[in-house]
Symmetry: C2
Subunit: 399 residues, 2 copies
């Protein structure tokens, strides 16, 4: 049987690709510290389950394709605290940020069109774009310059007549950087001059450390009709398995178009939406504690990484990831070796090889992404295992 060219061209998720090795390691009795996936260990606010347990719906019905009105209103109220004022026809509830991104891309670009993405980028971006025939055009940044954006001339050089949008996550997964106001202005200027949409993935908006002020593209009035905010409750409320996200834009015409895609898939699950309403009402104090915890983890990670010789990394400012350049040739080989052939007291770590976050060929081969979603003790142990593992791996390779 013949499969489509687009599905054949698509890679397996680089984050999940090593899972079989991890499973085998577990079967052999190894404990694995998962640094490879952004699954927080923070408890989900109880309000979510409580709301669901209190529903007495006897029939699980289709809801509005846009999202239940209570959830749309909860999003509106939630954003008011960020000084955003949205109207009901500026928000669509989606099955996670994933669907929000997928639908937005379909609505703004055709087969053969291009979307610029600062590289390294969240690996699934490329998957979604290529599944619908859109070309991911990477705008390279590098570990050595802390992944900051290139200047306007360089950035603009990637634009062609087929470019439709700039897609980026801020704070960034996988680099952990938070874009400065200058960088954002650069992107806004480019978008304005070239009539491009800005697909702003802000699912880590609340994870910003060192009292850095976070700026949203949504605050830039001059490009209001060009900004598509992609949001999700997954990370903010440690509710990855609830799969509720949203598309938010002041461009009402775009909302009307994307709503047609929402209607195709009928609706998001009823119960998850009911729970999400309560999540969005979570008092700010919850998040203050969470932020404190993550900043502490970031600090621990940073301190521990500094003990490992010959690696390159920067102090992450946001989200809960960092890209680390290792003094080796093939980070995937190293990651597999850690699972297959290494342990300290039957414990090892699982890393995400960073090449999956690059589309430029041969980029990121010597880098890994580390998610610091473990508690302090586990994080310290993991970094020790990484350090010792690296030393041993190097001694074997250099033998």
């Amino acid at each position: 049987m013949n499969f489509s060219k687009r599905i054949i061209a698509m890679d397996q998720s680089p984050i999940r690709k090593l899972t079989p090795y991890a499973e085998r390691a577990k079967e052999h009795g190894k404990k694995i510290y998962h640094l490879n996936i952004g699954q927080p260990d923070i408890l989900t606010p109880k309000s979510f389950m409580n709301a669901i347990k209190n529903t007495n719906a006897e029939i699980l019905k289709y809801t509005s394709s846009q999202g239940i009105p209570e959830l749309i209103d909860a999003f509106i109220n939630f954003y008011k605290e960020y000084n955003f004022n949205f109207e009901r026809d500026e928000i669509l509830v989606t099955n996670g940020a994933s669907e929000g991104l997928f639908f937005s891309a379909i609505a703004i670009a055709d087969d053969g069109d291009e979307i610029l993405v600062p590289e390294p980028f969240y690996t699934n971006y490329q998957g979604f774009l290529s599944a619908t025939g859109i070309k991911t055009v990477p705008v390279p940044t590098s570990a050595s310059t802390g992944f900051r954006l290139p200047n306007k001339e360089t950035f603009s050089s990637y634009i062609t007549s087929k470019t439709k949008a700039i897609l980026l996550s801020n704070p960034s997964n996988p680099t952990g950087i938070v874009y400065t106001l200058e960088e954002m202005q650069l992107i806004a200027d480019i978008a304005k001059e070239n009539d491009l949409f800005i697909l702003a993935d802000e699912v880590y908006r609340d994870f910003v450390y060192d009292n850095i002020e976070f700026h949203s593209f949504m605050n830039m009035k001059e490009i209001e009709d060009k900004v598509i905010l992609i949001d999700s409750l997954s990370k903010r409320f440690s509710a990855c398995g609830c799969r509720i996200g949203a598309i938010i834009t002041k461009n009402k015409e775009l909302i009307a178009h994307i709503l047609k895609l929402c209607q195709l898939r009928l609706c998001c699950p009823m119960l998850e939406q009911i729970g999400a309403v309560e999540l969005l009402k979570t008092p700010k104090s919850y998040f203050k504690e969470v932020l404190c915890e993550y900043e502490q983890r970031r600090n621990v990670l940073y301190n521990e990484l500094q003990k490992i010789p010959n690696i390159v990394f920067h102090k992450p400012e946001g989200a809960f990831y960092v890209i680390v350049k290792l003094p080796i040739e093939n980070a995937e080989d190293f990651a597999i070796w850690l699972l297959n052939d290494f342990d300290i007291n039957s414990e090892t770590v699982m890393l995400a090889p960073a090449k999956g976050f690059y589309s430029t060929e041969n980029s990121g081969m010597d880098e890994v992404r580390i998610a610091y979603i473990l508690n302090e003790d586990d994080l310290k142990k993991s970094m020790y295992i990484l350090k010792e593992g690296l030393t041993k791996y190097l001694s074997i390779k250099n033998r």
Copy 2:
């Protein structure tokens, strides 16, 4: 701003398009009998909510992209009762049949490729296909011949070098027909001779009346590697709002490809999957009652429709829809008129104009789809309203 050509070309859901008229009618105090949408009024088995209420997960985590193992196993056991034997790597859990169809189409056809669909068809088929650049090629059938398939020569004449699959629902939404073994053999032969996939949407599999024996394409060993079963719990368990479906195929290579798309959207909601496990364990007796109820409704509908002069329809054999050809020119105009300008004791009906179920231009203009998802009394009242409405509408139009 420029939107994509594909999103501009896409129509609003014809099933949901008249919603604003319905809302206005409700604001004016009218009660509306919804014959336009397939939202059953049967109670969802309590096991679903009970399972969710009994979970004590403190963190809503990502699940496996394929679906939680318990749900995969529950599907396997469920299908055993239909004499299907599936292995774990032959099933993917999806966000409703919608996602299953969307992902399957992406995996088997590229931009510009074609998929054959007996027409009239479930309107969202065309939406999903065109969103990813696939051309819907209708194979016309008509009300006058009870929507039976054309012969092999005629059917085959729609095949080109770009044809990748045949997509159809069985029992059929919107026509209510159940394909005969001869019709299925015809499709199987065509698929075999032309190396096409068969996308078999069997979400109404259990809704078959008059003791007609239902045949699944999955039973046809000779085309085993070509059949992609699209399933959903929505209709079977009156759980439309739970959004759990599945892709099932013996083609393991295809499963591996589609899994890449599943990984992009990370996973289906955790709680819905936990509830779905229990739904699949629902005793057969539940469904016997449901079937009895729907067959009775079908009979009521059929009897009442016979009282309306000059309409064309056939007795539906499955699902819970019927297409009715009306003695008017524009069924959409009539449907809007029923909402805007007609009522009997402040009650009216909402119909789905059938033209949205056709892609051949000017087809189905005088037809409506009726979903018989109301209880007997409401169904009788609705049919009376339809009959009187039609008489009045005709008298106005012929004035």
